[in-house]
Structure formats: C-alpha cells, structure tokens
Subunit: 355 residues, 3 copies
C-alpha cells in the first residue's frame, strides 16, 4: 500500500507525434506573435506576409531568446535581442550587422506545419515534416440550420483525464447533479462500445430524456433520445444528442495538451433546437459554464492528488466505457500508430448502466 511503490509511477501523459492540434482561435492571432506550448514545447505563432499562420519553436537559434518576445515585421518574426529574422518556414532572413546577407541563411528555426480552418489555427505536432493527414473538421459549421457557440477553456489536468471526463456519463449525474442529470437512477440502459482504428464511441440505448434544466430546454415534450459519445484521435471529444426530430446537439471539443497537466479546450457547441438559437444560448450558456467549473474543479483536484501520490492507480468498472479505450488509442498514437481512419469496427461490446 506504500505510495512509494514503483507501481504508482504511472501518469496518463501521452505525447503524440504527427497529429494536428488547435493552437488558438483565428481571431486571437493578429499582428503580433503569440507564444504557446504544445505538449510542453514552446512555440511561437505569427502570420506571414500572405496572412497565413506559421509556427516555430519559440527559441531564437542564435542565443535562445523567446521569439514570442519579439515583433512581426513584414511577415517575419524578429528576435528582440539581436534582431535576427525568420520567415514562417523557419529560414533566417536577416542578421543585423553581417556584412554579407546570405550568411544568415545557415540558421534555421524548427518549423511546425500550420493551417487555418473553421476559424481555428491548427498546428502539427512534429516539426520539419509534411503532415500525413488533415485536421479534424468541426461538423455543421457551414449548415445554416445550425447555430454554433465557440468557447475556449483550460483545465489543470492531463489530456487523457480531460477527454475521459468530457465523455463520461456516470459523473454527470453526481458531480453535476440537477444540472442535466438527476441523482435518482431508475433506468437500466444498454451501452454499445465500439472501437475503430482512430476512434471509439459509446452509443446509449434506451436513455430517457436527460433530466434537470438542460433536458427540459432541449426537449420540452420529451421523445426518443439518441446519444453518442465519441473520441477521435488525437484529442477530439464529441457528445451528440438527438431528441425526437426537432433537437440535434453536437458538442465538439478539440483539446490541446499544452503541458503534461495543462489542457486547453476549444469547444464548439452546434445545435438545431425547437427554441431559437439565441434563446438556447442564453439559457444553456450559464448551465454549461457551471458544468465546466465543476469539471475543472474536480480535474484540478484529481491531477494535484495524482502528483502528490507520485502517480496514478486507477480502478475501473464496466461503467468506465470509454476511458480505457481512449487510453489505448492514445498510447498507440504515441508509438506512431493509428495512421489513418478506417471504417471497420475493430471491437464492440455491450454493458448495462443505470441512469
């Protein structure tokens, strides 16, 4: 039972090469450089002369000052210390004081592929390579029948813990009791768990309309519920609800592991509801805010506790339908697997859950 056992040294931290992560929202990247960290590596983002985003290691190759402390001039990032300049590809374009300008070009900052999509800037987690895949696309952003609300959040936990939390059903009735599930558990439902090469999902069959305030807003007249929770590599958590024919809600969260215990959440809640979108936002916004605060609170406590015990020692039951699957996929991706999506179900099983 000693906490000093080497068995306790496990932390659910995975570092995923060759994957796209959201760096920031498009509107957060303007004329000045923006520093961030991705999986612990400091990066600087800036817009090149054509307005397209670039990402470099946030370290001037010369004397290692952070490039994010510098300025963008003519689409190049200029180091604040000696004024060396780099383009979005990482090539050094100027070294003030060198009599012969072409000498500068020997120097190069590590560059990360960068792309702007759907109002987000995405960055590729391996520097100096051509991306092997495309970023995930938030669904229904272009569909006029849907309203989308974007939020940027941060939690003090591992990527894994944040993903599991976002896709975990049992804690919602408890931690968020009254907000969108009640603590009274009266229905046994069936959950189908499916794993694919690059994702996994849980389908909840027989689930009653969510209780609490949220449920009453989403489906005032009740109806049949379709509910999927999905994880897609490397870091997408998606919760999809259909209630009758009128309500469709997809909450997609692209998570960015900034550091081992810091995860950013870029949430897009997309919905088509029987009530006007603005009205729904006005009601659901505060509820979502409160749910998030509770989740951020417990995730922070969990992470602190794992660290003070020197590691994790998790015990799962059949109710933890997606966590173990997510961890398996993350570990595979860490080793460079899960190269491309495929359609076939690799694994499927069913469990019962009381909700």
């Amino acid at each position: 039972m000693s906490v000093r056992s080497p068995l306790a040294r496990r932390f659910s931290v995975a570092k995923l090469p060759d994957h796209w992560f959201v760096a920031c929202r498009s509107r957060a990247l303007r004329g000045q450089p923006l520093g961030m960290t991705l999986q612990g590596t400091p990066l600087v983002l800036f817009r090149g002369a054509d307005g397209r985003p670039g990402a470099l290691e946030d370290r001037c190759p010369h004397r290692n000052a952070p490039l994010s402390a510098g300025r963008v001039r003519s689409g190049q990032i200029e180091c604040a210390y000696h004024g060396w300049r780099y383009d979005a590809g990482g090539a050094c374009r100027a070294v003030p004081g060198l009599p012969s300008p072409h000498q500068a070009r020997a120097s190069r900052a590590a560059a990360y592929a960068c792309v702007e999509l759907d109002g987000y800037v995405w960055v590729y987690s391996t520097p100096g390579v051509e991306p092997r895949r495309d970023p995930f696309r938030y669904p229904f952003l272009e569909d006029a029948g849907y309203t989308t609300v974007h939020r940027e959040l941060q939690v003090g936990s591992t990527l894994f813990a944040a993903l599991e939390n976002t896709l975990d059903v049992p804690h919602t009735a408890f931690l968020h009791g009254g907000l969108f599930r009640t603590r009274r558990k009266e229905n046994d439902i069936e959950v189908v768990v499916r794993r694919y090469a690059d994702r996994c999902e849980a389908e909840f069959i027989g689930e009653p309309r969510p209780g609490g305030i949220a449920g009453r807003l989403l489906a005032p007249r009740g109806g049949v519920v379709t509910h999927f929770d999905r994880f897609v590599l490397p870091s997408i958590a998606q919760v999809e609800y259909r209630l009758g024919s009128a309500s469709h809600l997809v909450v997609t969260t692209a998570m960015t592991p900034a550091a081992d215990f810091v995860t950013k959440l870029f949430v897009a809640a997309t919905f088509r509801l029987p009530v006007p979108g603005l009205l729904a936002s006005a009601f659901l916004g505060p509820i979502a805010g409160r749910i998030f605060k509770q989740d951020a609170w417990i995730l922070g406590l969990q992470a602190d506790n794992v660290r003070r015990f020197g590691g994790e020692r998790f015990a799962s039951t059949q109710l933890d339908v997606l966590g173990p699957q997510i961890w398996r996929l993350l570990r595979k991706a860490e080793r460079g697997g899960a190269s491309s999506p495929c359609e076939g179900v690799e694994h499927e099983h069913r469990v019962r859950m009381r909700v």
Copy 2:
C-alpha cells in the same frame, strides 16, 4: 569543504511504521471529512455511523480524486467525482450507476487504524494492519488537582529537529534569554542521561530555580528543582519540573510528522502551581507563545539552510544530551525495532553543563 560532497546528503528524516500519531484534536473532526498528511501520505479522516473516527488514504481508488473533497453521508465518505462511497474500514459500499450493487465491493481504499483518546484522534502509521501497541497517554488529564492547557502548533522542520529543540536546554538561555533562563551562566550542574528501549531522558541535578519571569511565577519562593526532559517513541517530547512541593509542571508534546519538513505539535501543559490555574495560564500563555515563536523561527531557518546546503552536517558536544539519543531511537523505530516499552535502563552516562 565542498557543499556538494555526498557526505552532506543526510537529512534527519525518519519514517516510522507501526506507530501512533495524533491526527487532530477530537473537536476538529465533526461532520465533514478532514484531509491531512502523515509522513507525506495524504489521509482523509471522517466519523463513521457510530461516531468513531476512521482514516483512509486520501485517494479514491477509482480515479484518484481526493476523498477529502467529498462529503460524509451516513458515516461513509463519498467521492466528489463519481459518488463512490467507502466505510471507515475502506470497503467500497456504493458505485452509482452499477446495476448490480455487489460489484462495488471489489474496490477498497487503504485504511489506517484510528482511535480517539483524551480528546485527540490518533492514527496508526501503517495501513491495513492491527496496531501492535496503544497510543501514548497524556498524563494527569483526569487528575482534578491539575490544570491542563492544550495548544496546536506547527513548525517547518523535521520531526527530529523539533524534538531535539523541545528537549534542548542550552538554547533556552540563549534564544529565549530572559524568558525562562538568563544568559549569565553561574552554575555547573550534572545531567544524567538514560536510554531505554523506547525512550530516553535527561535528569538535571543541582539546577537552580529557572530565572526570568517564568521562574518567578512557578516558584515565587525558590526551592529545590527536579527537572526531567524525556523523549518517548515515536514522537513524544516531555518536560517535567517540580519546584519544591507546591509546583509541578509537565509539558507533553505529541508531534506529528506531516511531511519531511512539516511537523505538527499537539501540546498539553499540565500543572499544579501555588497560584490559581487560570492566573498561571494568563501569565504563562503569552510567555509560551513568545518562546514558541522564537523556536519556530530558528527551526524554519535551520530547515531552510539544511535544504539549501543539500543536507545536514551536525557537530555535537556533551551539551547535546538528548539529540543523538533521539536520533538513534528514531532510526531503530524506522527499521521496525523498539517494539515494546521495557523498564530497564540500557545506557546511562553523566555530563556537566553550565546553566
């Protein structure tokens, strides 16, 4: 002389298995859970259905959230994340959402023996075992002729450094000069040092009445002084004074090593004095408070310095009568020795000290 020498890596930190430590005062543990650390291990205390205290590792076996962030319901501690519940013995009694309740019982939180005595909650330092001994008893608590004042304090030092400080005579004349000893040293006295299997003591022979304000209060008319300083495993420091037939003062401190450099002190000052107890408390309280502040100050500085030098390098003289004995006993207890008290003196020697 290099501070980088491996010789300097020693820290007076001992971790004692199979011993009782004070967790908190009884009145501090009410309806809600109480988090603490014992020798670096986070524990949660709570009262079971029968009101008796229980102590578990402060980590839910499920997802490692701290149980102390949860609530006590019907004498069980309920995790704040998914609502798993544990009884005072560590058995899992409920997992919300599991269709079959008996599945929950496979999970178990590490439990520490706990007992309530003399207004204190004691916890046993090894989990999952039946205690091999009883907690130390504060003396004279039941004796109507004595008044007892309780105080709870904390210092930023190792258990060893706090024990040695509490039982060290030479620093009192210096650090606390004027409060209960004077800096003028005029008397050579004899100190008899005795070591037993589970304790050691120093008897001071020929000591004059303590000087300063405290001495004048304790024995307004002077008289023969009997003075013992005692250490009892695992962490009891006791100072006993008799002045003439009227004054008897025993200050017993049960120390709890919360972490390597954090020690809690649960002090009971028990006395029978020629002045009314309340009056004595009124005068001695502020003096004791000032003495404690000075000790906490120097202990904190000492600990900080030991850490910035990367270890201790102590040099002792014959004046350090108990420190080396205490350390030897702590080390023996750390290795699992000193199983039970016995009466025989294992070692005795005499030194001279000028006070």
Copy 3:
C-alpha cells in the same frame, strides 16, 4: 529537433575555484552580518574586531542554523540558536554552557579569504586556502582627472550570458536602438579579436562616433573613436572608449555569480569628458538605467527560455566576437587553469562587422 535530446542539456554555468569576486560594496557591510551566495554557496560576511571583513560558510557547524541570522559581538559572529561564536578565520571561540571553554575550539566553520579594496569587499571562491592572486583593480579610481559612478545591479542570468551581453556590440543597435547606436547600419568596420591567457579583447577599428543621445554627449564635435571591449577572468567586463583627446570612458563591471542563474553586477563607470562630470552623470545616468533595464529584461527571458527548453543550443556567427572566447576562458578557469596573467597574445583574428 526534439527538445528532449541530451544535446540540449548544456547550460553555460561555470563554477570557478580560486578566484576573487566582489561580495558587496564596503558601505553595505557594517555592524551586522550580511548573507550572500557565491556560486550557489551561502556565505556570511561580517567585520572582525579590527574592522576587516571576514567570510564564512553561512551555516553553524553545530546545528546548521544560518550564521547570518545571528549577531556580531566583539568582532565574532554569534549563532542565533545556541550562541556559538566564530571569529573571521572560522575558529569557534565560545560554546555557551560548556564548562571547559577550550572544548569549543574543536569546531570550525569553513572560512573564505576576504579583502577590502577600492570600496568593495572581495571574497575568494575556494575556502580554507591562501589566495594565489590579487583581486582585479578598478582603473582610474585614484586619478583626480576622472569621475567615477558606482552602481550595483542584478540580472537573472548566468555569469556567461551577462558577460557576453555586456561586451556584445550587435545587440546594442537593436535592443537599445536610439539610445547609443542607431539601427541604420552604414559602416563596415574591422574588429580585431585577441585572446590572452586570462583575458580577451575586441578592438573596433573605423567605428564612427556612437550615434544617439549618448554619442552626442560624449563627443559633441565627433572625432576619431578608439573602442575596446575586454573580458578578464574570472568575471570582469570592461568597455573602453576614447573619442578624440577630450573624452575617455571606461565602464568596468565586476560580476558575481550568486547562483547558476543570478548574477550581480558591480559597475564602476569612470570618465573624463568635455562636459562637467556631474552634468555627464545627470544625463548619462538615466540612459544607462534604461539600457540596463532592457538588458535585464532580455537576459531574464533568455534564461527562462533556456530552462524551459532544458538547455541551450546557441548558434554563433562572426559577429559574436567575444562570447566564444569568454566561454573558453571560463571553462579553462573552471578546470583550474589560467593561473596567472601573462602579456603575450595567444590568438588573434579579424572580422568585419556592419555598424
């Protein structure tokens, strides 16, 4: 490109034995002890009975309390815990309570040679030895034709980074643009770089009068410029300017590596100018202050970045005329080389620089 490569583990931290460093200005050391750290080792400074400074390891040999928390009594430092006293040579002179006073003398605190010169207290970096050389002397302090302004500053960087920054020309036009060089670069000049056994220097040939406000103050009518930047082991950075016959400015900075990433700067700016010394100080002081703030800012960012990347990875060009030479000398001194100054040039080369 991984930041986890062992190649990145390099930090420009050198620990130099057998060298003199400024401990403090003379006027900062009065009747009470002064704590400091030198290359990470805590020291306590105090004045002995004759007023001369002494330096001991800041740790009482008895129980390791910091001696700097004590008091100076009759030229001896007295520990705050038990009152043990040490003279400036580290010998224990009193242990209160010991019946036989000569027993105290077995104890000894590590002592560092200490000397007072030019208004500074210097300390030798190896304890318990006779210094093999003399401290560096600030030039012209006695010359009535010169005015000297002293400043004490601190930066959050390695000694090496602070030295290189102080003697680096290219960053001045950029980071301090407008203050004493302009960003417009119109002149190609020649730099002669010379390395000696214990120093190196860069001579700038053909340099125009410095631009900006500072240049106009130093040489209102322009003129031929002589400019030397010098590093002298272990930690002296000197910038010397002559402008015509009227202006001569020598800024000498003795640096003290307090810790790996904390460097103190003891600056003496000595000058003979065509304007009154007071007037020059009044104008140049604020400019120097602003330059220092900019340097401290970038040095702190650089050090933070090096640490968050887990090490340095510097790339140099021909413009980095002194940095590599300084590093080579520091490393040699760290291994105990560079025993005494000699006059012969060991190495000389020339580079071109646009200023």
